[in-house]
């Protein structure tokens, strides 16, 4: 989490109601502390990142109140040296371990880092992520090489999805990234991807 984000959290903690205040959940009033705890447990139990709106719908609380409580919860997580992190990903909230402890977790799970994508697949994915919705001929134009197996791999891994057909000659299929893509690459949304101009500097600087 960036420092700008942390500052943001501080602000929101100050701006929201003090913890003694209460909100109505279902039929009864509960304190903000309890609201925070309920939200935390829902985020924990959800098997996918869960959004503030989904939480608000479940516990019959204003979305604003839920969002404020999540920000407060986020502050709690950042304030203590927890093994867990609360993070925003793919348009929702998720409780996950910290990457620095992966060795021990892998030892327990007896798991190895899963199969990586090939360079061809990664490049194809990059083109799709930045140019979506994009057709196969357009990908070929940028990469200078055919990538049928890469497209298939990405579809199989559910990182990309078909986004309808382009109204042009041959009506080629258009592809875009999926929610799974956001999850696997730890992105809040597509706007979190670095801009192409940043890469321009990188590429240009190599002369």
């Amino acid at each position: 989490m960036s420092t700008a984000k942390a500052a943001n959290v501080e602000d929101s903690i100050e701006s929201i109601a003090p913890e003694e205040e209460s909100v109505v959940v279902g039929q009864r009033e509960i304190s903000n502390i309890e609201l925070k705890a309920i939200i935390e447990s829902l985020i924990f139990v959800a098997d996918e990142p869960i959004g503030a709106k989904a939480i608000a719908d479940i516990i019959y609380v204003d979305r604003e109140a839920v969002e404020a409580a999540i920000q407060e919860l986020l502050g709690d997580y950042q304030a203590r040296p927890s093994g867990l992190q609360l993070r925003e990903i793919a348009g929702g909230w998720q409780i996950a371990t910290r990457p620095e402890h992966h060795e021990h977790i892998r030892a327990y799970l007896k798991s190895k880092p899963s199969a990586k994508l090939s360079l061809a697949s990664l490049e194809t994915l990059a083109v799709i992520a930045y140019r979506q919705p994009v057709t196969v001929p357009e990908i070929l134009e940028i990469r200078g090489v055919q990538s049928p197996s890469a497209i298939k791999t990405l579809l199989d891994k559910r990182l990309i999805v078909a986004k309808g057909r382009k109204e042009t000659v041959g009506r080629p299929m258009m592809y875009g990234t999926s929610k799974e893509f956001l999850i696997q690459f730890g992105l809040k949304d597509l706007s979190e991807l670095p801009s192409m101009e940043d890469f321009q500097d990188l590429a240009g600087g190599a002369e």
Partner: protein
């Protein structure tokens, strides 16, 4: 597209390539290695991972530390073609994409020989290389983007969420529908039928035969432990028949049953016609 490739060369072939194209064969993402294989006379050439003609061009340009906006087309085209030739000598399949690029380079090379059109006010825009340069820069940007995705995915693979709990997936026991159940039940019935068929083939003992058997056994031994008689029965049905035949002979007063102690063995004796 070319994957990581290891190609073994005959000694003379390796010698010829190294004299024709000394350093420019070092294409590929990583520096390829030509290393003598100590166990044999052959040389081994390892090409790194290498993706398409744009990759190759970029590599040639970067290797020679050329300003990408001032590509010496003739030189780069020669190097590019030499590489294609090498690929063919190594019997590597040269993908069509590479040949298309070769044609484009040759076209560019010939256009570079022509004098620029003097009518244009803006001389930069008329550089015939500009289109290729833009494609190369674009390609390079996406290579950097792929690199960024790779590092993100690496960090992300080190992050774990909680283990799956039972409700995360529909419980398969509940998912089974009525028709699945029926189908399984039918399977069981079918299997059962086969078993029944086998039993029918078995030899059957009639009541009359069983009575005769009991009569003979009692007669020949004088007395008969009923346990032994029942043990001869090979199926439940035979056992029932055997039991009935005992009752029948008792009713006809041909045999009498005696039990010497409670829960002890029951012995049948023929009732001697007094």
């Amino acid at each position: 597209m070319m994957e990581e490739t290891t190609q073994t060369l005959e000694p003379e072939a390796a010698a010829s390539t190294s004299s024709d194209a000394p350093q420019t064969i070092s294409v590929a993402g990583a520096q390829p290695e030509i290393a003598p294989d100590l166990d044999s006379d052959q040389l081994k050439l390892t090409l790194g991972e290498f993706e398409g003609p744009l990759d190759l061009l970029l590599y040639l340009i970067r290797q020679d530390q050329i300003n990408i906006y001032e590509i010496p087309v003739a030189r780069i085209t020669d190097e590019y073609l030499r590489y294609l030739q090498l690929m063919q000598e190594l019997d590597l399949a040269v993908a069509g994409d590479f040949l298309v690029m070769a044609a484009q380079l040759l076209d560019l090379k010939s256009r570079m020989l022509l004098p620029r059109e003097a009518t244009a006010d803006d001389e930069e825009e008329l550089d015939p290389r500009l289109d290729l340069v833009n494609r190369l820069l674009e390609h390079e940007k996406f290579k950097a983007a792929a690199q960024m995705l790779w590092s993100r995915a690496t960090v992300e693979r080190a992050v774990f969420t909680r283990a799956e709990i039972e409700t995360d997936k529909n419980n398969p026991e509940v998912v089974v529908g009525l028709f699945d159940l029926l189908r399984v039940f039918q399977d069981i019935l079918a299997r059962h039928k086969e078993e029944v068929l086998l039993e029918i083939e078995r030899e059957e003992v009639t009541m009359a035969e069983m009575i005769e058997r009991l009569r003979n056994m009692v007669r020949s031994a004088g007395e008969l432990n009923l346990l032994k008689f029942f043990e001869r029965a090979q199926s439940r049905r035979e056992l029932v028949v055997a039991f009935l035949s005992v009752l029948e002979l008792v009713r006809l007063n041909e045999i009498s049953l005696r039990q010497r102690e409670t829960f002890g063995e029951i012995v049948a004796k023929s009732v001697s016609p007094a």
